[in-house]
């Protein structure tokens, strides 16, 4: 197996909007992951600008063979603990999330699902388990919304636009079965026993990837909360409350100082904000239809 892995060494610059990511890895799993989920993304030669220089490498020393591990490096520096080698592809996805959340690029980055109808965006900030990935997948695969991101909402303070960052949707535990049942869904490898439980990815719809140079403005902010079999409820929030809640889910508002504060204020100026509780995916979708069609 190692010789086969070496023969597939990846070194490519992928345009994952709005960034150029150089990926180097000897892992066949990473190559397969990129082939499956990032085929239609533009690839550049060595003349392109690189925003993130990423390497997904084998473990050091005996960890190359004995209980093999995978390491994630940004600019040749390692900032995470290694993971079991089987998780090389998920580690690429997690590592890239970390890169985007930590590197100061003048964007406000929030932990939220982000979808759009035309140029009107729906933002769903939430803690893990609130159901934003399942709702994001349902909205783009069943209801015709455009997916900007299932996890990282990127706001450009200069234009006030949300920037699409199309990536495979990360699915956890029960949501894997739900999304696998959708007719349009393309699901990747299932990884068991990760630190987030069983995980998998669903491909970002091709239309959303194709439209990734078009931004959108936030019109609705919805804080979802999934409680199994509970009755649906929807409550409108003031912008001040929404500001406080989104700040908790922002990776870098504090570090962006005044610019971040102003950007978030003006993002909320045109938005209506809601908190919803839902007991099933279809109930959640109905609540979002009610909010966005009214």
């Amino acid at each position: 197996m190692p010789s086969k892995q070496r023969s597939r060494l990846i070194d490519t610059i992928l345009h994952i909007p709005p960034f150029n990511v150089r990926v180097r890895s000897p892992f066949a799993e990473v190559a397969r992951h990129l082939d499956y989920f990032y085929t239609s993304y533009q690839r550049y030669g060595p003349d392109a600008f690189i925003d993130f220089d990423v390497q997904v490498l084998h473990g050091k020393g005996v960890r190359r063979w004995w209980r093999p591990q995978v390491r994630f490096l940004l600019d040749a520096a390692e900032s995470f603990f290694p993971l079991p080698a089987q998780q090389a592809a998920p580690m690429f996805e997690w590592g890239l999330n970390w890169c985007i959340a930590t590197r100061p690029l003048g964007y406000l980055v929030m932990h939220a699902g982000l979808l759009a109808l035309d140029d009107r965006a729906l933002m769903m900030p939430g803690i893990p388990g609130a159901g934003k990935s399942t709702l994001s997948a349902s909205l783009c695969l069943l209801e015709g919304w455009r997916l900007l991101s299932d996890e990282l909402a990127i706001l450009d303070p200069k234009s006030g636009q949300m920037l699409p960052h199309p990536r495979p949707i990360s699915l956890k535990n029960a949501s894997i079965d739900i999304v696998t049942g959708f007719p349009q869904a393309r699901i990747g490898t299932v990884y068991h026993d990760t630190r987030k439980g069983t995980i998998s990815h669903a491909a970002c719809p091709p239309d959303s990837v194709a439209a990734s140079s078009t931004g959108a403005r936030v019109r609705w902010v919805v804080f979802p909360r999934f409680e199994l079999d509970s009755a649906s409820s929807c409550e409108e929030l003031s912008r001040a409350e929404a500001f406080a809640l989104i700040s908790e889910q922002s990776f870098n508002r504090e570090r962006m100082g005044e610019v971040g504060f102003d950007a978030l204020c003006s993002m909320l100026t045109d938005a209506r904000c809601f908190q919803i509780v839902y007991g099933s995916t279809s109930a959640g979708l109905q609540l979002i239809r009610d909010i966005t069609l009214s």
Binding site: I50, D51, D53
Partner: protein, 367 residues
């Protein structure tokens, strides 16, 4: 000596911002990566902006993001200085700001776009106990918890163990002199304190900034004795920037050599001036170098050392740390320890640290 990688070098662009004109995308990539690794991305952004160079394309957001972060950090530093005044003001002792905090509070050009982590202050050694307890009352706690680390700092070092604020998380290094007590050179901090000036800012009467000569001397001393050089190019950039601006003041160079010589720091300062001249091309008068120059044998070793530093400080892009640079870094690390402590203290100390790293004591969060 050429430091360029792919025809581009962050030092050249810092010295001459026009060199960034017409760079290709991949050259910008290299420049941004070099600057980031040297912790000079904010300074580079500030320099290009001051030169009126419009950066277009994707490099712009990296430079802009770093500038924005540095503005945020500077605001936070200013706030911390007011907190320090509040905590230490009534002790009626001078509280000197060192390095980054001094550059920001004095609004000197060297602070523009500078990124930093800790705040360094210098207080009279006799007041150390009172300073530490006042800081603890105001929410700063010692970040080093092991008894050995505490003893290491208190008996041998030039600072007490770093303190971090419970709520704000900011880290404060409280110095009582500028070199470890165990090191070969023994500068007298009193001289630096006596020459320091108060800030013009209202409400900060305890806060002092070292005089320009001492700012340079301290920055050089720190660089020359430091074992880990990951901020080496940044520190040299600070020194270059200060020398170019202070150097124009009448009598500066005479005072610089007099203060350095009068404080047992002639050799390190002489070496630092040679180094900044060779790496950044800083204009330094020959007469100053001659006044500070050591005798024959020390001069030989200084030449060696300059080669080592020049190798170690080579700006690296994404990957290009070659064997020579690695070896130079290691030798300088070893040298810094030899300067820091005499052998009979150093060997047991390193053995102890290695043991503590291998077998961390239970209940202590440190490695």
């Amino acid at each position: 000596m050429s430091l360029a990688i792919h025809g581009i070098c962050v030092i050249d662009v810092l010295r001459n911002p026009q060199a960034a004109f017409g760079l290709s995308e991949s050259q910008w990539s290299v420049l941004v990566a070099q600057a980031r690794r040297a912790n000079l991305l904010g300074a580079l952004g500030a320099r290009l902006k001051a030169a009126g160079l419009q950066v277009t394309g994707p490099a712009n957001r990296h430079l802009g993001g770093a500038l924005q972060l540095s503005e945020r950090q500077h605001r936070s530093v200013r706030w911390e200085i007011y907190q320090l005044q509040g905590a230490l003001g009534h002790l009626e002792i001078p509280v000197l700001l060192l390095k980054g905090a001094a550059y920001v509070m004095s609004e000197h050009a060297v602070g523009r776009g500078r990124l930093f982590g800790d705040i360094d202050i210098l207080v009279p050694r006799a007041a150390l106990g009172a300073v530490e307890s006042q800081l603890m009352l105001h929410g700063w706690v010692s970040a080093k918890t092991s008894a050995y680390d505490q003893r290491y700092y208190r008996e041998w070092m030039h600072e007490i163990p770093p303190m971090s604020h419970m709520r704000r998380g900011t880290v404060l290094d409280v110095h009582h002199t500028i070199l470890p007590l165990t090191s070969r050179n023994a500068p007298d901090p009193r001289q630096i304190i006596d020459r320091a000036a108060a800030l013009q800012t209202a409400g900060l009467c305890a806060i002092r900034i070292p005089c320009p000569e001492d700012l340079v001397i301290h920055s050089i001393t720190h660089l020359v004795h430091e074992g880990e050089l990951h901020n080496g190019l940044r520190d040299l950039n600070d020194i270059d920037c200060m020398l170019r601006s202070f150097g124009a003041a009448p009598g500066f160079w005479n005072r610089l050599s007099a203060y350095a010589g009068g404080n047992d720091l002639a050799w390190p300062v002489c070496f630092g001036l040679h180094l900044v001249r060779s790496v950044y091309g800083t204009p330094v008068p020959e007469s100053t170098l001659a006044e500070l120059a050591p005798n024959g044998r020390a001069q030989q070793s200084a030449r060696w050392l300059e080669t080592l530093y020049s190798l170690a400080l080579r700006p690296t892009g994404q990957f290009e740390q070659n064997i020579a640079t690695g070896l130079a870094l290691w030798l300088l690390y070893v040298r810094s320890h030899a300067l820091r402590m005499p052998m009979h203290l150093l060997v047991p100390h390193l053995a102890r640290k290695a043991w503590m790293q291998r077998f961390p004591a239970k209940g202590q969060g440190e490695k």
